[in-house]
Symmetry: C2
Amino acid sequence: LIGAGLLEEVAACLACRRAGSPAAVVTDPVVGAFYRDRLMAALAKGAPGLRVAWIEVPAGEGAKRLSELERLYHQFAGVPLDRRSVVVAFGGGVVGDLAGFAAATYLRGIDLIQVPTTLLAQVDASVGGKTGIDLPEGKNLVGAFHQPRRVIADLETLQTLPAAQLRAGLAEVIKYGVIADPSLLDILEAQREPILAGEPAALEELVVRSCRIKAEVVAGDERETGRRAILNFGHTIGHALEAATGYGEYLHGEAVAIGMVAAARLSCRLAGLPAGEARRLEELMRAYGLPSAPRKPVAPERLLEAARRDKKARAGDVHFVLANRLGEVDLYPVPERVIRDTLETLNG
Amino acid sequence: LIGAGLLEEVAACLACRRAGSPAAVVTDPVVGAFYRDRLMAALAKGAPGLRVAWIEVPAGEGAKRLSELERLYHQFAGVPLDRRSVVVAFGGGVVGDLAGFAAATYLRGIDLIQVPTTLLAQVDASVGGKTGIDLPEGKNLVGAFHQPRRVIADLETLQTLPAAQLRAGLAEVIKYGVIADPSLLDILEAQREPILAGEPAALEELVVRSCRIKAEVVAGDERETGRRAILNFGHTIGHALEAATGYGEYLHGEAVAIGMVAAARLSCRLAGLPAGEARRLEELMRAYGLPSAPRKPVAPERLLEAARRDKKARAGDVHFVLANRLGEVDLYPVPERVIRDTLETLNG
């Protein structure tokens, strides 16, 4: 469900379930401060008599750790949730990943409803069933596939989203434009102002089209044995940059924007992408205030090292999703020398 | 695969996988002391060049905790295992549950081979895909369904199994006799001596028939929404007894034996089981040195309380799997007064 003012739908969704089992809303203090009263009022009205536990986890990627997972388990057991209970993940990607993984594994899996409140979560994290937490050794090293019963994306919640996070979410929308639907790029170019203002009417089309692409790709390859990999356009270097800078230096969407610039340049060299289309992407990044190069130079060797450690790497090659043209991508093995050259161009 | 001398099959199973990705054998020090050399020799011979990490977790139910899971994750990341790696769970139910859950969740799920070395694990835990760990609030509260690629049950490993554990495993075999295949009870009655001596030839038929029943039931209802529940015959009170005595007082199979005696008596009262068949079960317990009553009296109210908290409980009733006759069971809601009465008879 995608639209403006949908928090009431969460209540409707819980009300239609069999009664007697409590539910849990997992969120963070930032989202809680904005929306707790509104969601709890909607639940009291739309799902009267339902017992709802309100559970807050710390804001930020640091919450995706085993100790917070353990705390969630104890809180679930304290309610206690049972096999017919539902967990509502109410927040951005961190809340969705952590609460989703807790729901995937508590009592060997209970129902999950994703209510994403960031653009990134609405167009990416909430769809597709990936959940997980980080280890000190790497991001998302532990997790599960657990499809939500429903994803409810309320576009109004984007109005309280910081501008930098809105822009970072748009990086993933640009990605969908590159891998499957160039008309997204046309919309981004034509409607820059209402989009950056977070106007629901302007964002709706972007979210709908992005989710459709993600859902189609995932439905064809849930476990990422093949085509799902195309969703990683820009992510090989994006992830490597996040890892090499210790996370926190770049928002995920910012790192992906830089990774997409690198991937576009590789695409020109190896996949026949016209140079003008790569430039068009870089201009779009600029128009939306997204970086197209690291803010401080990063040694190519460090990025390459991190890319090799990526959990999607296979022995030997580093594989990249590259664009043959805007809207069509394939997986290419890329020689390390070529990667190094291209990374050098990022440092200007 | 069920048979004598099958550790070489583990090597064959790993050798036929695509090369390049390391494997991990997870076991405990007890199993490691008996079989490490033999398994590693088989792997060196049957899967030459394969990198194998040998990882030991503490013996006993205490290992099924989040801190040990975390240690496993770190060891997997240290190898590092990748998406094509395989985890071999080599041991009893604790190792299978813990290593299985780690495999289910590391990199969102990597391949698992179960190599059960206890009778309980061979006839029950290794088949069906349940994995998990305990929380302070209860057993198996966290877990995942993760089907092993293969289950390799080497009957020769049962020769190093302590007699009490062999007997405890036989309690689950008796259970399969009650819920689906009374000929198992005939075999147990006719071949007591070779079975108790752990002779592979005598045990093979028991393990094969038990696994067949478990696999059939699970294939029809993997997520335990219906018929899989019949596998819980004797387990409602069995689990309650384990919980009420703080675990460690009874082996799981011993608690299940007592639970089956209670369930048989309830079956006589509510499901039409002839009294003679309940007596036949109690005699079988005695013949195999299994308890048919708690060693120290336990207040019925404490067992009832624990049964209510069981994760399979639904709001309101306590449900029992009861036998209409040997080989045929159904799920019955049982009034608490009747449960209390029956539990009183256990205390003699």
